[in-house]
Amino acid sequence: MIMRLAATLMLATLTGAASPAFAHAGHHTAARQTIAITNAWARETAPAQVNGGGFLTFTNKGKVADRLVSASSPVAPTVQLHTMSMDGGVMRMRELPDGIPVPAQSVVELKPGGMHIMFIGLKAPLKPGQSVALTLRFEKAGLVKVAMPVHAIADIGQNMGGGHDHH
């Protein structure tokens, strides 16, 4: 676990992600929560493409399980938490109505091929160089603001590897 956590943080450093955003629980919460957010980025969209996707990694160093309940952003009126699954070669994308659990002492990645933040009804296309402001609401850690740099649409997928058949 520690190795995995270290690896994720290191990856964040290597990929030039901004310093991790930390979420601290409000002072009334019994167990103080800390969730680090790394690898945040959103994907470029075409002019008429009114939906877009964003990705990030949560690291819960605390001893208490948390849950991402919802997200919001000025770039789109609707922001949802989605998952994507492959089922017999068919891609299915679904909303996660119960949010995304972030268990204690864990790393949860939203990355291509898995879960994503879905921007619905983008007011303007997302362009590389731009940064998307995102506010996440966690059950215990409360509100966390994060900036998602926009990556060129063709730039991505490098580190997703698809390494299912290394001989």
Partner: protein
């Protein structure tokens, strides 16, 4: 119990080695065979064939417009935030790795979402990938025809609020110049495996 002499320990070891060598040989032969032979030959009864769709300029686009090249064809929709751009970006990346050979095949992106994606929109979308991709769509009937002939699964899934998303096959189909099925690149296939299939397509 003692009437038959058990084979010597040496015989066991040599027998084991022989079996291992045999198994290795068979495995290697199977492996090489699968690498050399195309996984599926172009067949008239396989998926694929001629089609009529609509190009980004609104004009009809048929197999003849591909220009007598083999082609890679992918079905999706522009509102798909993840698997579609990932697949097209992968194709662009692989084509770049092929150098000059990358020009020997065409890339087609077919939007199966005529309700949202207008021809012009698809044309703009495909230009983002930095490699020539032909963006296409069609009428409901034209799309239904190509989905059927290429064996592509497409299903609209209503969303709360009245909109919909689309479940769809996420594989890239590799077709010969006559529209015959050659091979398929799965969504989670490694770049190296996919590249080998593309080289075979243009080889």
């Amino acid at each position: 119990m003692t009437t038959t002499k058990p084979p010597s320990r040496g015989a066991f070891i040599w027998g084991g080695l022989l079996l291992a060598a045999l198994a290795f040989g068979l495995g290697l032969a199977a492996y090489l065979g699968s690498e050399v032979k195309p996984q599926a030959n172009a067949q008239s009864d396989g998926p694929g064939g001629p089609f009529t769709l609509v190009a980004s300029d609104g004009k009809p686009f048929t197999l003849a417009n591909v220009g007598g090249k083999p082609y890679a064809i992918y079905f999706g929709f522009t509102r798909c935030p993840d698997v579609c751009p990932t697949s097209l970006a992968k194709m662009a990346r692989l084509r770049a790795r092929m150098g000059k050979d990358g020009e020997k095949f065409a890339m087609l992106f077919v939007s199966v979402d005529p309700g949202h994606d207008k021809p012009k929109d698809i044309g703009q979308y495909v230009t983002l990938f930095g490699t020539p991709i032909i963006g296409l769509t069609g009428s409901e009937a034209q799309l239904a025809a190509i989905e059927k002939s290429y064996g592509v699964y497409v299903a609209k899934v209503p969303q709360p609020g009245g909109d919909y998303t689309i479940d769809h096959t996420a594989a890239i189909y590799l077709m010969d110049a006559r529209g015959g099925f050659q091979n398929m690149i799965g969504h989670d296939e490694s770049d190296d495996a996919a590249l080998a299939k593309l080289k075979q397509l243009v080889g």
